[in-house]
């Protein structure tokens, strides 16, 4: 799947699709994704989140966590999406 990285909704859609796909592959029950949901309460473990980051790098060509020493760690699903949206802007 190739998402159009110019538009924010495409990024959001790609991210939610990847969440759903990885949850299914890893046999996890994913809660309905809302911006307020804490990532670690979403039903995914840290390996799932790590896989999602690797997949999004493949699909969107974005790795917003790789740059610089300023480590931003997202707490909520909304934070996570925002980091990708900012990286593509």
């Amino acid at each position: 799947m190739q998402a159009d990285s110019d538009t924010a909704p495409a990024i959001r859609d790609a991210i939610t699709a990847t969440f759903t796909q990885v949850a299914e592959e890893q046999g996890k029950t994913l809660l309905p994704l809302t911006d307020d949901l804490a990532l670690m309460d979403s039903g995914l473990d840290s390996l799932c989140i790590a896989i999602i980051v690797a997949r999004l790098d493949d699909e969107l060509g974005l790795d917003p966590f790789s740059s610089g020493d300023d480590m931003i760690l997202p707490v909520t699903v909304g934070d996570f999406i925002k980091i990708y949206e900012n990286a593509s802007a």
């Binding site: 890893q26 840290s46 390996l47 989140i49 790590a50 980051v53 020493d69 300023d70």
Partner: protein, 463 residues
């Protein structure tokens, strides 16, 4: 070998302090340590295991802790089975370890290879130490690490080699409440348990099946003061709102390279805590702790004039101390320390000025959140696919787990059928049936060729 003055783990725990407030807790139990180390139980179970080789293969970490307290100094050998050991390796473990009895908290499953020897299903209360004050046996403790072929390597320690690094915990004294994201059946977790027991403190056990938020909530409720994990554990923890609930005095990282970003982040997040990172491995023991807020370690630690001697040879760090393992278990096992008594860690060191930094592993081992993955093991499974010519597995940097497994695959030239996506899916399902999730490639790329070096080996980029 018996010695009258030998101290068992239970003796050391007892001698560390009789504070009735000392406890050990997991998600469902909170036991006073005092009753666990006094002669209150029947003790007949542990008594019947005297001088035997025992495989502790339990679901709950608590069972393993109580078994260690009951059996150190009693059993000839304790094999501390990690939670993720594949059943396929059990027959080898049982024969190489000369296992005479298996201790578990769940009954055996159908065709369970562990049921070929005496199988004991026990509850925590069954695990009181035997009442006699008989001589203590020098019990071997066997820890497991991953090997290149997928079969675990069994590393021989004793209570003495393991407690070696704990001296400083004694100074911290009573009242410290220790905890760790690690399972205590891994070296890094076991070190924290021993600090709690031998240092006179208490222990809060984590649980692999528990979400990080709930574990941190329990840690907060039990007023944890000293807490450890890999940098990946901590990155994950800092993504949980519950990270704000704990008030640690000491935050420790080990098991992976602690980069400057995670050190800075933890110091900012827990301003009242000492943030330390340690270098340790199952084979080499704990080499050093650094708490100056900088990544890497001071070059002056590389000296052979101290009890923990450090040496750099062929670029990799070597360690000689009384804390290193005694060797590997089993026939044809490689001998561990070299002629000078040094254990090669396989970790490559780069010195810049008066600071030394870790520059990856010599053998290309991938460290996924503190769990080691040998690329060869994954490649062997991928190469089973009939359309795969060759494959290269490597680590890709990842902000959550430090690294993640990815694969590049070359298709056989004769292979014309099948879309790439179908082949990727088939490779993934091969890997999923062979490995735990952290070893399964997160990404597979079909490529035209792979670099093969002059040695005829795949050119591996150091992860």
């Amino acid at each position: 070998m018996r010695q009258h003055n030998r101290r068992s783990l239970r003796d050391l725990t007892n001698e560390a302090g009789a504070d009735p407030g000392r406890f050990i807790a997991d998600a469902s139990l909170r036991l006073p340590l005092e009753t666990q180390v006094r002669n209150t139980g029947r003790g007949d179970l542990a008594g019947s295991l005297r001088n035997q080789s025992i495989l502790i293969s339990a679901t709950e970490q608590m069972t393993a802790v109580l078994a260690l307290l009951a059996l150190d100094g009693v059993a000839r050998r304790i094999l501390l089975c990690p939670p993720d050991l594949a059943a396929a390796h059990l027959p080898h473990v049982i024969s190489a370890g000369e296992v005479q009895a298996v201790l578990s908290d769940q009954p055996p499953g159908p065709d369970d290879p562990r049921a070929t020897v005496r199988f004991i299903t026990c509850q925590p209360n069954d695990l009181a130490p035997p009442p006699s004050d008989a001589d203590r046996v020098a019990t071997e403790w066997i820890l497991f690490t991953s090997g290149t072929t997928g079969a675990p390597k069994m590393v021989v320690h004793t209570c003495e080699t393991l407690v070696g690094p704990v001296e400083r915990a004694r100074a911290i004294g009573q009242g410290a409440v220790w905890s760790t994201f690690y399972d205590i059946r891994r070296y890094g977790g076991l070190q924290m348990l021993l600090r709690a027991l031998v240092g006179g403190g208490s222990m809060v056990l984590s649980n692999l099946r528990e979400p990080p938020g709930e574990y941190l909530g329990r840690a907060a409720a039990n007023r944890v003061t000293h807490i450890s994990g890999t940098p990946s554990h901590w990155r994950r923890a800092l993504m949980s709102p519950a990270a704000r609930d704990i008030r640690p005095r000491y935050v420790r990282m080990s098991g992976e390279v602690a980069d400057q970003a995670i050190i800075d982040r933890l110091r900012a997040f827990y301003p009242d805590a000492t943030v330390a990172h340690a270098f340790a491995s199952t084979e080499a023991g704990v080499a050093f702790d650094v708490d100056d807020g900088q990544a890497g370690f001071p070059a002056h630690l590389i000296t052979e004039d101290t009890p923990v001697a450090l040496r750099i040879e062929d670029g990799s760090l070597r360690i000689r101390s009384s804390r290193t393992a005694i060797g590997y278990l089993g026939d044809n096992a490689p001998s561990l320390p070299d002629a000078d008594g040094f254990v090669d860690t396989g970790d490559m060191i780069e010195q810049r000025g008066d600071r030394c930094f870790f520059a990856g592993r010599r053998e290309g081992i991938i460290n996924v959140g503190g769990l080691k993955v040998h690329p060869e093991e994954i490649e062997a499974v991928i190469n089973r696919h009939p359309e795969v010519q060759m494959s290269l597995v490597r680590g890709r940097a990842n902000p959550i787990t430090g690294a993640i497994v990815v694969a590049e695959v070359v298709r056989k030239s004769t292979a014309t059928t099948g879309a790439s996506d179908t082949i990727k899916e088939e490779i993934l399902s091969l890997c999923r049936s062979a490995f735990p999730p952290y070893k399964v490639p997160a990404s597979i790329r079909i490529v035209d060729s792979l670099n093969v070096g002059a040695s005829g080996k795949l050119a591996r980029v150091r992860a």
